[in-house]
């Protein structure tokens, strides 16, 4: 399990569990039970199934401070990203996330552009937002296989 351009598995073995990552992590601070150091070790020792079923995995804010402070230069945040990719592949995905991804699939944007938005923009002297060529976006996402994932 590895997404192209993401984490380096060989480097993971070099983790000596110093805990600078978890010690700096905002999500670990806010969510009891979210622990990047622990996720890494659990992944290595107990395998991927042990980590991807827990929804808490998705608490990562992707701030990358773990990677920034790791003395072994391990890309912890990218490991978590790969794990979340795999979790999504297997259907373990929080509803909020799935809905946001669907929004992109259907509208090409993460937020809906309503008429109200257009009118506020107009009052400020801003032009309406250019249309996203949906055929193209849908086509691209179809090819990459996302449509199947989101359902």
């Amino acid at each position: 399990m590895k997404r192209p351009g993401l984490f380096n598995e060989e480097l993971l073995y070099e983790c000596y569990q110093c805990a600078r990552c978890t010690g700096s992590c905002p999500a670990a601070f806010a969510v009891d039970g979210f622990n990047p150091r622990n996720i890494l070790l659990t992944y290595l020792r107990l395998g991927i199934e042990a980590v991807i079923t827990d929804e808490k995995l998705w608490c990562c804010t992707t701030c990358h401070v773990c990677e920034d402070r790791c003395p072994q230069l391990i890309d912890v945040a990218d490991l978590l990203c790969s794990l979340m990719n795999e979790a999504a592949m297997q259907g373990h995905i929080p509803e909020k996330v799935r809905a946001s991804a669907e929004m992109i699939l259907r509208t090409g944007r993460a937020l809906l552009v309503s008429r109200r938005v257009d009118s506020i923009r107009e009052k400020l002297g801003l032009k309406p937002l250019p249309e996203v060529p949906m055929e193209e976006v849908e086509g691209i996402l179809d090819q990459t296989g996302m449509a199947v994932l989101i359902g």
């Binding site: 993401l6 804010t61 999504a88 944007r109 993460a110 937020l111 552009v113 996203v132």
Partner: protein
């Protein structure tokens, strides 16, 4: 200076006032912004975590769009900067992957070769426009204590965002907003955990209450240093602080009164741009008390 303008998804929809401020400032500083039918960048806190390949393909589409016009991209959101910079770097360094992605784009007449660069507004302001130009355009200044929040995606991971400017310990410490605000005579101050995340990425995915705890940590350190206003360079961070304060005050009986500004709003104030053009009415945390009262 001519850039393809990448507004992202949040700013034009939720905070068009920031967009307005940005466009005005850009014009005053000689930056030409060209609009294009960009799609969602797409967000590093969302799509990248769900399906990396799709994220990369959409990012490549946006990059290819700008490349077609031969323009570098200017982003106004940390997330967009992060996505587009990472995608450009990954595709440039991995020819096999680039080939695969370009095959996906081919039916739509697009190709990314790696010619263009992606820059966050802050870097354009500091590096291309320069602090001297900003200083010369400043007409008013304010003395209220500003807590700058750079956010995370602007500069982490440093090997992707600023690979040429790493410290000996391989970090990158951002100073753009400090320099820009210094040039206008304003008063940015230090506070503990200045480089901590705002929490937005957690709130939008799983749990807003937990995210607000992170925001609360930031706000309390800012309050410890008597910060009176917060300055950000990203609409997601903006929302987290602006709305977050309101929620925390209501739910947890906090008493935070730190209005949040997007960088171009503060520049607008400094350059003498009329307030109605800067979109303060979209803020939840009211700015009027600060701007009317002390601090001027």
């Amino acid at each position: 200076m001519r850039y393809a303008f990448f507004p992202g998804c949040m700013m034009p929809v939720k905070y068009p006032g920031h967009e307005s401020a940005t466009r005005i400032i850009a014009e005053m500083l000689g930056i030409e912004l060209v609009d294009m039918p960009f799609s969602c960048c797409s967000a590093p806190t969302l799509l990248r975590l769900v399906h990396y390949e799709s994220w990369l393909a959409l990012a490549a589409r946006n990059l290819a769009l700008a490349e077609q016009e031969g323009l570098n991209i200017l982003t106004v959101c940390n997330g967009c900067a992060n996505t587009l910079k990472e995608a450009a770097l990954v595709l440039r360094n991995d020819p096999a992957l680039k080939k695969k992605v370009n095959e996906v784009l081919k039916p739509w007449g697009k190709e990314f070769t790696g010619e263009i660069e992606v820059k966050h507004l802050l870097d354009v302001l500091r590096d291309d426009v320069g602090v001297e130009a900003i200083r010369s355009k400043t007409e008013k200044t304010f003395s209220f204590r500003i807590g700058i929040h750079y956010g995370c995606h602007l500069f982490r991971p440093p090997r992707i965002m600023y690979p040429d400017r790493l410290s000996p310990s391989k970090h990158f410490l951002p100073t753009q907003m400090d320099e820009i605000l210094d040039a206008t005579g304003m008063n940015p101050v230090q506070y503990n955990r200045r480089l901590l995340c705002c929490g937005s990425g957690l709130g939008t995915k799983v749990d807003l209450d937990a995210a607000n705890q992170i925001t609360r940590e930031k706000l309390s350190h800012m309050a410890d240093k008597d910060v009176q206003a917060i300055c950000v360079g990203c609409p997601s961070c903006f929302e987290q602080f602006d709305r977050g304060q309101v929620i925390l005050n209501r739910k947890e009986n906090c008493d935070y009164k730190m209005p949040v500004f997007y960088i171009t709003q503060l520049l607008g104030l400094a350059f003498g741009v009329p307030e109605e053009k800067l979109g303060f009415d979209q803020h939840r945390t009211k700015v009027t008390a600060l701007l009317d009262g002390g601090g001027r």
